[in-house]
């Protein structure tokens, strides 16, 4: 039963990450991404997925996807029907579940965040309907494949994850909300294991949308730089396997990190603009740390939402400075969007995965393009690769519609 559901009688359970999978413009898989994020590589290039000649901006961070897919229980027909976004989700989920050694049919929930789902299939559907109104071939398949819930169900099936599948579409906070919701499911005893993921592919509609808002940088994405002029779009997916600590220990799983706090709130200021002082961001950071039982002094690194737009970064800078108080001056902060762009529904999941990598490797991901820090940043920007002692990290995700989310992770020693 989804309700009522057996719940932990002994209070909140500890929740650990036992598997991590990533597909980003820096590469396929955790190994390929680790070095890229550690050294601050960038992956922007001219858009090849559709015609951008009439757009204001012509670059993005595309993923180089191999033609083959991992070997799973899916039929060749099912894999053929997955679009670019679904394929990235499959790669990430497969890597995470393989690393977690989730073999055989596993009773687990699946929570996925996205903004577009199979948007490219939806675009093809509309183009076909407009230009070949009487054509029926493949239109029903596109209709089904476009739906994010169908894509998530297929990927859960591929990974032998058997349980309820939920798709959260909280704009650019979707990935973080998906992990946060998965964390709550395990923490409260509703599920022992949850596959949590975020994914999105670059689509023409979304690219044109951000271009129409003049939110895309015509130069270079430089989060928290005084001269920043917009965000860059990227695409990708990340998946984490979350388990109750006792479940993970009982089966001898390798624990990668612990998720210890989650906060979510809604910014009512504007549909697309954050409150200038970042009130909702302060609320989510405060809530996540309260649940984690830690103070700003305990946070060793913040992976900021840091899109590179003037409004987002100034609001987040104000929120971080206010939330951190005296700790702000020495608090290391960076945005990995500097290297891979804004992955929208995947962003929160990928950035949480980066935090897992940073905790494991004891390093801080830099943003090399940020050369002139905005004076509004009352904290220390990480602009060069560096090693550091990292015990607790925080990741922020803020989206259209005022969807704000913060996660706090702890190193597993």
């Amino acid at each position: 039963m989804l309700f009522p559901r057996a719940q932990s009688e002994s209070g909140p359970r500890r929740v650990v990450v036992t598997g991590c999978g990533m597909v980003t413009p820096l590469g396929l898989g955790v190994a390929a991404n680790t070095e890229g994020f550690r050294t601050g590589q960038t992956a922007f290039r001219p858009v090849t997925l559709f015609d951008v000649s009439r757009q204001r901006v012509h670059t993005a961070a595309e993923v180089s996807l191999p033609p083959a897919l991992p070997n799973t229980a899916l039929s060749s027909r099912q894999t053929r029907r997955l679009d670019r976004a679904g394929r990235m989700l499959l790669w990430a989920a497969h890597e995470a579940t393989q690393q977690a050694k989730w073999t055989g049919k596993r009773p687990a929930a699946c929570v996925v965040g996205t903004t577009g789902g199979g948007m490219s299939l939806g675009e093809t559907y509309l183009r076909t309907a407009l230009h070949e109104p009487l054509a029926c071939r493949q239109q029903p398949t596109r209709t089904i494949g476009y739906q994010a819930c169908r894509q998530a169900a297929v990927v859960a099936q591929a990974c032998d994850v058997r349980g309820p599948v939920n798709v959260l579409a909280n704009a650019c906070a979707s990935g973080a909300n998906a992990i946060g919701h998965a964390w709550e499911l395990v923490r409260t005893g509703r599920n022992d294991c949850v596959l949590a993921a975020g994914y999105d592919a670059i689509s023409q509609l979304i690219f044109a949308g951000f271009d129409s808002l003049q939110a895309l940088s015509p130069t270079q994405c430089r989060p928290f730089d005084m001269h920043r002029d917009g965000l860059a779009l990227g695409e990708g997916a990340a998946a984490l396997t979350l388990e109750a600590l006792e479940t993970a220990l009982a089966r001898g799983a390798t624990i990668l990190a612990e998720i210890v706090g989650y906060g979510a709130a809604t910014d009512l200021h504007h549909l697309t603009q954050p409150h200038p002082q970042g009130d909702a961001a302060v609320a989510t950071m405060t809530e996540a740390c309260r649940i984690a039982g830690i103070e700003p002094d305990d946070i060793d690194y913040v992976n900021a939402h840091g899109t590179g737009t003037p409004l987002n970064d100034s609001a987040e800078a104000a929120a971080l400075t206010r939330w951190a108080g005296a700790r702000a001056a020495t608090l290391p902060v960076s945005s990995t969007k500097a290297g891979i762009g804004h992955l929208l529904g995947a962003a929160g999941a990928v950035e949480t995965a980066v935090c897992v990598l940073a905790l494991r490797g004891q390093w801080l991901p830099p943003m090399l393009a940020t050369r002139t820090p905005d004076p509004a940043c009352g904290f220390r920007l990480v602009t060069q690769p560096e090693s550091a002692r990292v015990e607790h990290v925080m990741t922020n995700s803020f989206g259209f519609g005022g969807a704000n989310a913060t996660l706090v992770l702890r190193r597993w020693a």
Binding site: P12, R54, L130
Partner: protein, 317 residues
């Protein structure tokens, strides 16, 4: 973290029958359904059949909120249903779970139409309203709640997932009240897609909302008894598996006489149709003096799910 009671303490609906739950229930009870309309489909001589929500009269007060000025129809329907569900509600932090199958499809189709014509001049006014969570964001703003707000995307059963999610928030004490809303809007592209699967289907639009509370209030009229696990099925072997999945859902629901209802006379309303079905089932239970109402949703994307509610007498007029 023990099990606790979750109460239905408000409800609302916007449907082709009109603005307000009573109009929906009267239409379903009396079998006097609003007439279907035709919708032009570019490139086709034969129009598509749909049922639209009529223009509200008088104009609702929330429509004057700056956020609602350019909001899509789906947001307007959501606000209408939510406002009715929240009427005379108790106070306390209010969460929002917003459920949809097709989302803000009208603005999405219009924006992409513009992109296909010339992306350089596509309207920045349309794009923000294409995002799945735009209606949910408007709800939070119009009703003034900064608490947690999720948008769930799924098939007809997604509203029942939403009930379970909201119940979890209430049990955990994250919110004192939670609005669960499901909404859809008509556009020719969805009617066209539906036509590929069911030639005779009529696409319909509107919204439904319920207010869940942790505390029983004077306005409580039902209690959430259970939401079943979803039962997946495939369409490969015809309707057999779907029927079996529905049977599994039915067998997971509490035994005993329960009221059910069918809202499909209004057309295919996806997630919104499930709320209408629930509200009609509760009304049937009241009329028949049954103590339980159940709802089953065999989704379009190969998952069936059900829920059950016990009926409480309403203590205020």
């Amino acid at each position: 973290m023990g099990l606790s009671a979750i109460f239905l303490s408000g409800s609302g609906a916007v449907s082709p029958a009109g603005w307000g739950q009573e109009k929906l229930l009267a239409a379903l009870r009396d079998g006097v359904l609003p007439a279907a309309q035709t919708l032009e489909r570019p490139g086709w001589s034969r129009p598509l059949t749909v049922r639209r929500v009529p223009v509200p009269a008088p104009r609702p007060a929330w429509a004057a909120h700056p956020r609602m000025r350019r909001a899509a129809a789906i947001s307007q329907f959501s606000a209408g249903a939510a406002e009715e569900a929240l009427r005379d509600s108790s106070q306390g932090p209010l969460g929002v779970v917003y459920c949809t199958t097709c989302g803000c499809v009208n603005y999405s189709r219009r924006f992409y139409d513009e992109v296909l014509r010339d992306p350089a001049v596509a309207s920045p006014l349309l794009f923000p309203e294409t995002v799945f969570n735009a209606p949910a964001s408007h709800l939070s703003t119009v009703f003034g709640t900064a608490a947690v707000n999720y948008t769930l995307v799924g098939d007809s059963g997604i509203f029942l997932h939403g009930l379970a999610l909201a119940a979890g928030w209430l049990e955990a004490g994250r919110v004192a009240r939670c609005l669960v809303v499901a909404a859809e809007e008509v556009d020719w592209i969805i009617a066209d897609a539906l036509h590929h699967f069911r030639k005779s289907a009529t696409l319909t639009e509107g919204a439904g909302a319920v207010l869940l509370t942790r505390e029983r209030t004077a306005r409580t009229f039902a209690e959430l008894e259970c939401v079943t696990d979803p039962e997946p099925f495939t369409l490969r072997s015809g309707r057999g598996e779907r029927t079996e999945a529905l049977q599994r859902v039915a067998s997971a629901l509490p035994r005993g006489l329960a009221a059910t209802a069918d809202a499909t006379g209004l057309g295919e309303g996806f997630s919104a149709g499930t709320v209408w079905q629930l509200l009609a089932a509760i009304e049937t239970a009241r009329q028949s003096q049954l103590s339980r109402a159940t709802v089953c949703a065999p989704g379009a994307y190969q998952e069936a799910i059900g829920a059950s509610f016990t009926i409480h007498p309403v203590t205020t007029p």
